[in-house]
């Protein structure tokens, strides 16, 4: 063990030191690598860590990572990757928070959805990857996902996938009732009326209040309800973009044009499959779910650009998507970074795309192979063209709260009431705003409207 330590010290890299320490399975070194995260780690260090090998643990629920891990291990026989599904979404964040709070059982690499990344960045639970030279990767990624991993002037993860939005629609239903596929949100409301009138069991969409969808559509409408500067936070849902969304959606609510079915439940899958839910506005990661969860309707659905708020330059937004980050508690930063590069920049990207993921890297998004891929599920449509176009037209300057995971959790307590009572969506959003401000203040942020 002594040998290993002196070797690492000679190499002058604190990261490698801790990696080597852990490699020898000696727990004694834990805790004194606090300053390690900020020190430079060169490509050689990363390469050395790869050759030395060792174990790393990854927490992710992304199904396409399985194969990436396999091929990574095949290329680097000394490395053993332990891929753990610690839950999906909130369960996963809870587990991560608990592990960080407990100071043990923290994985080396975690999946973080873009909306939750600022929260963990602020708490310094994950590392600024600038020290690893991640800044050089700026042009590798599309601007949308790249902006999403920036927080507090650092780079807190490498984008794994992205969710440029599109409108999925059941062509059979639209054809059957002779309704045009809407190009604007006003037309969308019209189409909703027409479909529901033609067949009262058909709804244009399902919605019971979804914070992710609401914030994405406000983003598309040019709203900026959140402004974040360090610990100074502004929450304001009365700007123009938010109002546009609230007013349009209010019409759908008032006329009962939205199916009161919560997404991802069994009724939702049924509705998508039996034609009672006619459209779905969501991210480009959806096709995989369609083909596995709603297999019966293969060939009936198509993809269209997201309806627009106004005529002119097409505008879109991101919905979902996540990055892989390295935890501050990890003792194998260099090795972890090697995996990040492999999965999110290197060969892993193609493996994931082949398995149905939607990438964040610009080169893949522009490649001919990718764009010309014909989706059998969508009747042979080249759906990636629609998605790639959407990815290019995401407005810049959007940010999420540094406590977005919590804010999303209380969306249904406040804005959700517009779906089941006389409360308007506008009032509901203001209620959400107040609740978010209250929480932010309690957590020591300087919050204003």
């Amino acid at each position: 063990m002594k040998n290993t330590i002196s070797l690492a010290v000679l190499r002058g890299s604190a990261i490698a030191l801790t990696a080597a320490l852990a490699l020898t399975a000696c727990g004694g070194g834990a805790g004194d690598n606090a300053g390690a995260a900020n020190e430079e780690v060169s490509a050689e260090d990363v390469q050395a860590a790869l050759e030395e090998g060792g174990d790393i643990t990854i927490w992710s629920w992304e199904p396409t990572l399985d194969e990436v891990v396999e091929s990574f291990e095949a290329e680097h026989p000394n490395v053993n990757v332990n891929l753990v599904n610690a839950g999906t979404g909130n369960d996963h964040y809870v587990a991560l928070q608990n592990a960080v709070a407990a100071g043990s059982g923290v994985p080396d690499v975690v999946q973080l959805e873009y909306f939750s990344l600022p929260q963990f960045a602020l708490a310094e639970s994950v590392r600024d990857l600038s020290a690893y030279g991640a800044g050089d990767l700026q042009d590798t990624y599309n601007p949308g996902p790249w902006n999403s991993v920036q927080a507090n002037g650092g780079i807190y993860g490498l984008p794994m996938d992205s969710g440029p939005m599109a409108l999925y629609y059941n062509k059979e239903i639209f054809d059957k009732y002779g309704v045009e596929v809407p190009a604007t949100w006003d037309e969308y409301v019209e189409a909703a009326r027409a479909l529901h009138e033609a067949d009262p069991s058909v709804y244009i969409a399902n919605d019971t209040g979804d914070a992710g969808l609401a914030t994405s559509l406000i983003w598309q409408a040019g709203g900026q309800p959140y402004k974040v500067d360090g610990t100074d936070v502004t929450v304001n849902f009365t700007d123009e973009g938010s109002t546009k969304f609230a007013e349009t959606w209010q019409q759908l609510l008032d006329e009962d044009l939205l199916a009161p079915i919560t997404s991802w439940g069994d009724e939702w899958y049924q509705g998508l499959g039996n034609g009672t839910i006619a459209t779905l506005a969501t991210g480009a990661w959806m096709p995989a779910t369609f083909s596995s969860g709603v297999a019966a309707t293969a060939g009936k659905w198509r993809v269209a650009p997201l309806p627009q708020w106004q005529e002119g330059e097409p505008t879109s937004a991101e919905n979902g998507g996540s990055a892989l980050s390295i935890t501050s508690a990890s003792e194998k930063g260099a090795l972890a970074y090697a995996f990040l590069e492999y999965a999110n920049v290197g060969d892993g990207v193609q493996i994931r795309v082949d398995n149905g993921a939607f990438p964040a890297t610009a080169a893949t998004l522009e490649s001919e192979d990718f764009l010309s891929d014909e989706f059998e599920y969508f009747g042979g449509q080249k759906a990636n063209e629609v998605f790639a176009e959407s990815a290019k037209s995401v407005p810049e300057g959007w940010s999420y709260l540094p406590f977005q995971a919590y804010a999303n959790g209380i969306y249904n307590d406040t804005a959700g009431q517009a779906y089941v009572s006389d409360t308007t969506l506008k009032d509901g959003l203001e209620g959400w705003q107040e609740a978010s401000i209250k929480y932010g203040s309690e957590q020591g942020f300087t919050v204003s409207k």
Partner: protein
């Protein structure tokens, strides 16, 4: 069961009265010790830790600081906390009596010996108790669906329009239904077991006096099982105040009906796990613990007072 075996004859020593327990000695700790040791680890220590936590506040920005009783002061003025408490109290006031009454009636029916296929009834009604709360909630969640669930099927078949069990107005009743379903059989068995050990000679005497069955029930059977009733009530009170699994699993189906502060327990859970407010969460949990204890104690006092 109440017949004590006759005292064994020990030559030269007169047997002690059956009711007298041994004189005080430490040897009881040999047997209660292991239980208490584990109990200390999994109950006492976390509770003590919770109390300690409740005096601090840890912020995302600014870190940890001692705040004395500020968390308790905040909880007392927290409208979300009080609304959750009101909701479980309402639940307690309606669901527990309904459930216990049905369980009692079923137990009396079994005990009357007038049922065809008694043992089939006994085991069948008890079966839902073996279903995990997770499975029960998933299952009822499927059935509650007005579109494609069983409720929807019934609507279609009969051409009627049943209200949505997952709507905000009905959700508490729907959860009450799940809990009732899970625990009727359990409580029934407790009551039935208590009934079955009432000495038959008492009935005989009453029947000889020409007492009606109804009178038999109200004058003899129910008073005789008061102990079981009190225990079942206390356990139900505690269960109601700790309501968590059912609403938390149904929440994904009815997010607008089940808020993050639907029950105190769910509130404590949301505070600590999604809000990272461990300290305030601990405070809420401690206050709930105290309230539950007071009410359980009151039920016990009241039950015992009637007895004397």
């Amino acid at each position: 069961m109440t017949t004590a075996s006759p005292p064994p004859a020990v030559p030269g020593i007169s047997p002690l009265p059956a009711a007298r327990v041994r004189k005080r000695s430490w040897s009881g700790w040999l047997f209660i010790g292991p239980f208490m040791a584990v109990f200390a680890i999994v109950f006492i220590a976390p509770i003590a830790y919770s109390i300690w936590l409740s005096f601090f506040r840890n912020q995302l920005v600014g870190g940890n600081s001692f705040v004395g009783l500020a968390n308790y002061a905040q909880a007392l003025q927290d409208s979300q906390f009080w609304s959750s408490l009101f909701r479980v109290t309402l639940f307690l006031a309606v669901q527990v009596p309904v459930m216990l009454l049905i369980a009692l009636l079923a137990a009396l029916a079994l005990d009357s010996g007038r049922l065809y296929g008694k043992s089939f009834f006994r085991i069948s009604i008890f079966l839902p108790y073996a279903v995990p709360a997770v499975v029960a909630s998933l299952m009822w969640g499927f059935m509650y669906g007005t579109r494609f669930g069983l409720v929807g099927n019934i609507n279609d078949a009969l051409g009627i329009n049943l209200p949505n069990p997952l709507s905000p107005d009905l959700i508490l009743a729907s959860i009450g239904n799940i809990v009732t379903w899970e625990f009727i059989g359990y409580n029934m068995l407790i009551f039935y077991s208590a009934l079955s050990v009432i000495p038959k000679s008492i009935y005989e005497a009453a029947e000889i006096d020409g007492a009606s069955q109804l009178r038999l029930v109200t004058a003899i059977k129910v008073p005789a099982i008061r102990g079981a009733l009190v225990v079942a009530t206390i356990f139900s009170v505690i269960g109601s105040f700790q309501l968590f699994n059912e609403p938390s699993i149904l929440q994904s189906l009815a997010p607008n009906s089940i808020s993050t502060y639907f029950t105190p327990n769910l509130y404590a859970y949301s505070l600590s796990f999604s809000g990272q407010q461990y300290n305030y969460s601990a405070t809420v949990a401690i206050i709930m613990g105290v309230i539950t204890m007071v009410i359980a104690y009151a039920v016990q006092l009241r039950g015992m007072r009637k007895e004397s």
